[in-house]
């Protein structure tokens, strides 16, 4: 009996252990062998820090698969990420494996045309990342060509830069712009300006000017007080009414002046004056010629007078002939 109990105990222990081993193996991954998967590939030009083999792949937040392989392409330095999508996560994709694959392929290709792309997202505060499939592009946007070497055996999903990369880029741009500001020159200029301002403030002329402005302000205030004391409201009103009357008179006078000016035919008079001025300019030229000729006449007359003074007899005998050497 004791021997039988021992055998029973051992049998239960062994059978229980083996069963538990098989159950745990099944739930810890062996079940994967019975699920249909499809290979999907993407390429990232940015860092995939936080993404590892086994990281999740989600479609609009729904876990649909895992990352199966991460590699670097030496030809173009792109990070190649291969994923395995489990078809069990898609409802209405039923039937045999080939039919499931066809349905899945049709669905994903149509969604790519609708703007579906993949992007790296943070899974939490731990720095781990996952790949999210969502509609990051506008519907109908042209699909980028897959990098060279992407065979038809896998479905290519174009990637878009992660939001973190966008933030980093904006930050880098801002920092670059800030670095271009010449703080030293600004500082020097500011220091120089402050020094000059300090010198200006300590200038005695400025103090004197300020004192004069103060005096002027006091005088102005005194004058204002005097005016206020001399003129009351009634007087001001009377002055204003007189001003109004004067302004009306000036207005009437101006109107009358304009009318008389119009009647006086100023344009015609101006033309006559301009014509007279032209004639005067012409007469001036003629007068100049006359004066020139008169001047020449006076010169000849002076020469005649001088000759007669030297030889008065020539007036009777005439001009002597010059002696000729023989």
């Amino acid at each position: 009996m004791n021997d039988r109990n021992q055998k029973l105990r051992i049998g239960m222990f062994v059978i229980g252990g083996v069963l538990l081993l098989l159950i745990m193996l099944f739930f810890f991954g062996m079940s994967d062998f019975f699920t249909h998967k499809v290979a999907v590939r993407t390429y990232f030009s940015e860092s995939v820090q936080g993404l590892t083999v086994g990281s999740g792949v989600k479609y609009r937040g729904v876990p649909i698969g895992t990352v199966s392989k991460i590699a670097i392409r030496v030809s173009d330095k792109l990070v190649e990420v291969n994923m395995e999508i489990q078809l069990d996560h898609f409802v209405n994709v039923e039937g045999g494996r080939s039919r499931q694959l066809t349905e899945f392929d049709r669905f994903f290709r149509s969604e790519l045309e609708q703007g579906m792309r993949c992007r790296l997202e943070y899974a939490g505060i731990t720095g781990m990342r996952y790949i999210d499939f969502d509609y990051f592009a506008t519907p109908g946007q042209e699909l980028p060509e897959p990098p060279a070497g992407t065979g038809p055996e896998v479905l290519y999903i174009p990637a878009v830069p992660s939001s973190f990369r966008d933030i980093l880029k904006a930050l880098n741009t801002s920092l670059d712009r800030i670095s271009r500001i010449r703080f030293e020159e600004i500082s020097d200029g500011l220091e120089r300006s402050l020094s000059e301002l300090s010198g200006l403030l300590s200038d005695p002329a400025l103090k004197s000017t300020i004192a004069r402005i103060n005096d002027a302000a006091e005088n102005l205030e005194t004058s204002s007080r005097t005016i206020s004391r001399v003129l009351n409201e009634e007087q001001i009103n009377r002055i204003v009414s007189l001003l109004e009357t004067d302004l009306k008179s000036v207005n009437e006078l101006t109107t009358q002046l304009i009318r008389e000016t119009r009647d006086s035919k100023i344009p015609e008079s101006t033309a006559s004056i301009r014509s007279a001025a032209d004639s005067f300019v012409n007469s001036q030229d003629e007068l100049s010629n006359t004066l020139l000729k008169l001047n020449q006449t006076l010169d000849s007359l002076r020469e005649l007078t001088d000759y007669l003074n030297q030889d008065p007899s020539s007036l009777v005998s005439g001009k002597k002939k010059p002696k000729v050497l023989e």
Binding site: R9, F13, L21, F28
Partner: protein, 263 residues
């Protein structure tokens, strides 16, 4: 010539404390081919040790591993709740139990349960000169006494580890859903999501190594015991201490080895 060789051998002779364990391992290894003969298997003794080391240890393993999983989960809850990330208790408990604590705790229990028993049993046989009698009858004690224990341990310890892993995960689950307030479905889903069969099997693989170490240490200490009652007691104590030391060192080495292959 012969005199010179004798001098040389004396000059380079290693101490017995170094050579004897190696010789003992050699004896056990040389006895392994005997397992091909059904008569040498000694099924009755093997089942006895399987019962002693496996079935009778099971309640203790389940209790200790369940509590260990719970303790891990409580500590995880205390720390992780500061960051609002209690769900990571699942990761902490799952990986700790499957990779390290499950096999380690089972090995320590087996050390106390089986290692000391092996040393005491063989030590008592040595006191009663039964081992000398076996040798006189032409029976190799290493094969006759060690192999059934080794086979039993190689079957029992991995199975106990599977039970221990399950109990540890259940302990973590119990604390996770009661103390940390995690939904049962979320805890189970997360557990199945993060743990894979490789992690589980690598943990179980450790238990094979522990089984060999505990059996060899227990049996060796039994064979090395001095011929009195106190010697048997000392042998049992030494078996436990050496086994624990070997198990912990092996855990460290295997963990480093696993890290090289990415686990």
């Amino acid at each position: 010539m012969a005199e010179n060789r004798a001098k040389t051998s004396r000059r380079f002779q290693l101490p017995d404390s170094v050579t004897e364990p190696v010789v003992f391992i050699g004896r056990v290894a040389s006895a392994l081919p005997l397992l091909r003969q059904k008569r040498q298997l000694r099924l009755k003794e093997t089942l006895y040790y399987l019962d002693l080391c496996g079935a009778q240890s099971l309640p203790l393993v389940l209790l200790i591993c369940f509590l260990m999983g719970g303790v891990l989960a409580i500590n995880g809850q205390i720390q992780l709740s500061k960051f609002g990330s209690e769900i990571f208790i699942v990761d902490m408990v799952g990986f700790s139990v499957l990779k390290e604590f499950g096999p380690l705790m089972v090995a320590l229990i087996a050390t106390g349960q089986a290692g000391s028993a092996f040393a005491s049993e063989i030590g008592t046989m040595k006191v009663d000169e039964e081992i000398s009698a076996l040798e006189t009858l032409g029976i190799r004690p290493a094969a006759y006494l060690v192999l059934p224990k080794l086979i039993a341990m190689l079957i029992a310890l991995p199975l106990l580890t599977v039970f221990g892993d399950f109990a540890g995960l259940t302990g973590g689950l119990a604390v996770g859903i009661t103390v940390a307030g995690l939904p049962l479905a979320a805890y189970v889903e997360r557990t199945l999501d993060i743990l894979d069969s490789t992690t589980f099997l690598l943990g179980v693989l450790k238990s094979f190594v522990f089984a060999v170490l505990i059996t060899l240490a227990g049996c060796y200490c039994g064979f090395r015991s001095s011929g009195d009652a106190q010697g048997v007691g000392r042998a049992a104590t030494a078996a436990v201490v050496i086994s624990i030391l070997f198990v912990v060192v092996a855990t460290a080495l295997l963990t480093v080895l696993y890290s090289f292959i990415g686990y």
